[in-house]
Amino acid sequence: MSLDTAPPAEVPAGLPSGSPERKPSPSAVTKELIAKAGATRRRKAAQWKMRIGAVCTLIVIVPILLAQLLPLPDANHQDLSARRLAPLMDGHLFGTDQLGRDLLSRVLHGGQVSLTIGVLAVVVSGAIGIILGAAAGYFGGWVDTLVSRILEAQMSLPLLMMLLLVVALFGPSIPVITFVIAIAQWPEVARLTRSMVLVEREKPYVSAARILGLHRIQILIEHIIPNVIKQATLVVLLLLAQAVLLESALSFLGAGPQRPFATWGRIISDGQDYITTSWWMVTLPGLVIVLMVVGVNLLGDGLRDRPRRKKKGA
């Protein structure tokens, strides 16, 4: 209610506050005001983002994981009599492509490849980034100089061009593409880890551990990294979204995993030639990518905005 309903002085503090009209609470802050407060709305928005994000992600990921179990036609089964069927025709939910293959099945099986590459790339880049970033932040000196210089050099390199170069030259196999995406992504993790370790290094518990005679590497691995890993993994979630996008861009340019793997970028680039007559061949796979990447990004954003819960003890 309004702010002028200040509590009368005779009401003893500490009474359970009922409805503000009948039993004035000792505070002018009402539940309604709390509900309208920025902090509350921020928490609600974060929760909302996380929920929607989780739903979007699951809508895409669960069918992809279950692709083999779902009653779908084989992704590579061609049926030239059923070419370019519109969605929902003849039991093809997403329609068929120019060779009569079921588009939904192709998108789901392609998603398995895209997701595998994305997850592997993020794990590799996360590991490299955390290790090198932590080492640079903790040891300083020449280690820091070396890592920072590499980071700078990579930032000034034409990224997608270099990725294309490596893939074009070393062949578009899944390990090469995974490696290339990981190399493209590790600087972000490394920079973040380095800055967090720089802060942690100065905290008293590190000095305590040093006085207790622990080895420097032991301090870094057992005490500092556990304190920064949670925040570092949050970034990793956002990197997964980027990795999926990067992989689909490479596939689109013809530098993705080769046939028989139908990755998302390749499905879209195949359908591009039929865009005027068969809109679904490009639109639907693209929407699947967007839905998943939006989901992952929302989830990561919500997790980051979420107010930190107070730690017990520690």
């Binding site: 921020r42 061009m161 030259l169």
Partner: protein
């Protein structure tokens, strides 16, 4: 000041040199023979050998590198295999197209993203802000090739407002620019919002507000003034990255820039052309980075170049 510029130029040129050398080594490490893609699959062994000799590919790699270094300092990187013209000239002819596209995109981004970010930062935690926030997340989640094809179908095929590909008229610039700008606007506006929110919470702003400074002055002079460097840096870095070729968008819209050129050069293993593209784009990117750094004292009088240069 002069010392600083010289030092930065030196570092920049070293980066370019290392980049070009890395590319030189990479393309020679990799499997694949330019002679085969030049002479065709039906060429005889003698023909292939002749092509290799003509391109100088039969010599030891170290000798090739020495020749390459000599070429580097004379600015003549040899003849493109597929264009049969000096490689530098082929790239230089494509460069204006990429420059045009990159400039148009970064201008559109700045004009939309900065006001949008400020708008978001001035009404935090409202439903409208949340809506725009989710829209920016969607903007950075769309694969650019897909956005490009969608815009192409929508505004060039179904509603023929703009030409579908190439750069014959200025109308051809619209769709590629918008495609690039959607992603950049999403990224930059979120960044502006973050910077501005931090400044709005800073003590100097509370003091200014308590002195009765008008809201518009608070926003644009006080908060934006202090966000200028990071925002400018972000825009500049994005611009520099675009000069390396907005590969995907150029391919979708058949834009005659360096991005689509490098894809073709990689496919045909056109070594001189690959090297010329990398050299020229890396030089430009380093140049833009230097200009960004030199602009810092204009944006913030506290910055003294040279001292804070390593920060």
């Amino acid at each position: 000041m002069t010392n600083y510029i010289l030092k930065r130029l030196g570092q920049g040129l070293l980066t370019v040199f290392l980049t070009v050398s890395t590319v030189f080594i990479l393309i020679r490490l990799a499997p694949g023979d330019p002679a085969v893609s030049y002479a065709g699959p039906l060429a005889t062994t003698e023909q292939l050998a002749k092509v290799r000799e003509q391109f100088g590919l039969d010599r030891p790699v170290l000798e090739q590198y020495w020749i390459f270094l000599q070429q580097l300092f004379t600015g003549n990187l040899g003849t493109s295999y597929s264009f049969q013209a000096p490689a530098m000239q082929v790239v230089a002819e494509r460069m204006p197209y990429t420059l045009t596209l990159a400039t148009a995109s970064i201008l559109l981004t700045a004009v939309v993203a900065i006001p949008l970010g400020v708008w978001m930062s001035r009404r935090p935690d409202t439903n409208r802000e949340l809506g725009v926030n989710v829209l920016t997340i969607a903007g950075q989640s769309m694969p650019d090739f897909w956005t490009g094809i969608m815009l192409l179908t929508g505004f060039a095929v179904l509603i023929p407002l703009f030409p579908a590909s190439g750069f014959a008229t200025w109308g051809g610039l619209v769709l590629p620019t918008v495609t690039i700008a959607i992603l950049q606007i999403a990224l930059i506006s979120r960044m502006v919002r973050r910077e501005m929110t931090a400044n709005f919470a800073a003590p100097f702003l509370t003091v200014a507000r308590s002195r009765g400074v008008r809201n518009s002055v608070l926003t644009w002079r006080y908060a934006m003034g202090n966000s200028a460097i990071p925002v400018f840096t972000a825009l500049g870095t994005r611009f520099a990255a675009m000069l390396n070729g907005v590969v995907v968008v150029e391919v979708v819209f058949a834009w005659p820039g360096v991005g689509s050129l490098i894809v073709r050069a990689l496919e045909t293993r056109d070594y001189p052309l690959i090297q010329a593209t990398v050299l020229l784009t890396a030089l430009l990117a380093v140049g833009v980075q230097l200009v960004i750094d030199l602009a810092y004292p204009l944006l913030d009088p506290r910055v003294r170049l040279g001292k804070a240069a390593t920060a």
